[in-house]
Structure formats: C-alpha cells, structure tokens
C-alpha cells in the first residue's frame, strides 16, 4: 500500500526531503510501526526520529497518537511539537 509521507521543520531538514511516497510492508500497521520501519531505512531517518517521543504525527491532516492504525491513510505527516500562534 503506497502512502505519501510529509516532513516538516527539523524533521524535514534531518531527513532531507519534504515528502515522499513509500510502500511499507504488510506488517506495518500503526504510526509506531511506520516510524520503526522508516528508522531502518537510513541514518538520516534514524537521526530525525532519534528522540521519537517528541515527534508528532498527523494522518490525513488530523493529529493522531502513535498507536493509530494507518491502513487506508493517504497522507501521513511527521513534525516536531508545533510553535505557531
């Protein structure tokens, strides 16, 4: 299943891209699984997610927790805590 992944702020800088389309294997069912899978793809991902607990995720533009099931998602985003306002 192909899914579009977006990165923002220093997560984007560490990974070195703003977005990509990936096809995680069948066993990757949650946001936490996806992060584990991404971290194994290269040291830029490992660096971006080194302190996993601070990274936030959104699925189809809605904030989600790490245990959210990603099946059917079209767009998943990873980013640091927000500093707007």
């Amino acid at each position: 299943m192909a899914v579009r992944i977006l990165y923002f702020a220093w997560v984007r800088e560490r990974i070195g891209k703003t977005e990509e389309v990936v096809e995680p294997p069948a066993g990757v069912t949650t946001i936490a699984d996806l992060v584990d899978w991404l971290k194994a793809r290269g040291e830029e991902y490992a660096y971006a997610f080194e302190n996993e607990i601070v990274i936030r995720a959104a699925m189809d533009q809605i904030h989600v927790q790490r245990d959210a099931v990603i099946t059917g998602a079209r767009e998943i985003a990873f980013f640091p805590p927000m500093t707007g306002g």
């Binding site: 923002f8 809605i62 980013f79 927000m82 500093t83 707007g84 306002g85």
Partner: protein, 169 residues
Amino acid sequence: MDEPRTDDPASVERASIVPVVRIQAETFDAAAEAAALVRGRTDVGAVVTFTGLCRDEDGRLAALELEHYPGMAQAEIARVAGEAARRFPLQGLVAVHRYGVIRPGEEIVLVVAASPHRRAAFEAADFMMDWLKTRAPFWKREHPLGEPDAGGWVAAKAEDDRAADRWVR
C-alpha cells in the same frame, strides 16, 4: 470533538455561526476583521481581539520564518474554531494565521471573538490562542540579526501545553 446535539436549542444556536479561518502570507487588518463581526447588528455586547506580534527578542532577532502544513493548518484551526463556537455563546469568530518571513513589530496571528457577554468573548479568544499554540501545524525558525542563516527552530514551551490543558474537560 463531539458533534452538537441537534435537539438542544442552545447547542444548535452555538453551532450556527461559521467561523472565519484564513491562513495567509499577507498581513491582516485586525480592525476591519473586528468591524465585520459587528457591522449591521445590534445584539453584540463584547468583542475581544487578540493580536500576536513578532518580537525582536532584545534586538537579537532579524525575523521569524514560519513554516506550515498548508491543508492541515486550515483544517486544524477550523476544528479548533468550531470547538470554540460550541463551547462559548459566540456571535462571530475570526482566526487568521500568517506564514513566511515575519519581521519584529509585524503581526503573526489574529483572533477576534464576538458575544453578547464579555466573559464568553474573553474565554473564546483565550481558548483559541491556547489551542492554536499547541495544535496548529506551524513551526517558527529564528533568523538572528547579523547571521541570518545561523538561527534554529523555536522549541515548544511546556507552559503552552499547560495553558492548553486548562481547557480539557
């Protein structure tokens, strides 16, 4: 966020306003936004306008650069505004958030809330700002004066999370 119950008159009334939400690079006119909420009506008792500005941090800062997640920024602020409209008896609500390079003294964010009652107008604006700070997908990077490329990303503040937690119920 719960849907309003359509059999509850107060809830129906509260849900009936349509908040104005805009994400834009351009500056905004706070006075015009506030005036638009009141124009032609005589039932508004209180208007609270919050404007957030870029500070120079004791002269250290040349500019802030605000990165955002376009589709989600609009959607998330609209969700927060909808929640404000359900929680408080509002007659109008505007939220405008800028992105891009913003210099000290320039405006970043605007919230305007209109209500028959001052407490609701204050609380709705306060609630909007607390939730915008912690939920709207924007990230600030600092450009220090004299070394425009040396700045880092602004860290999120624990006090902002605590402020947002005041509204959890």
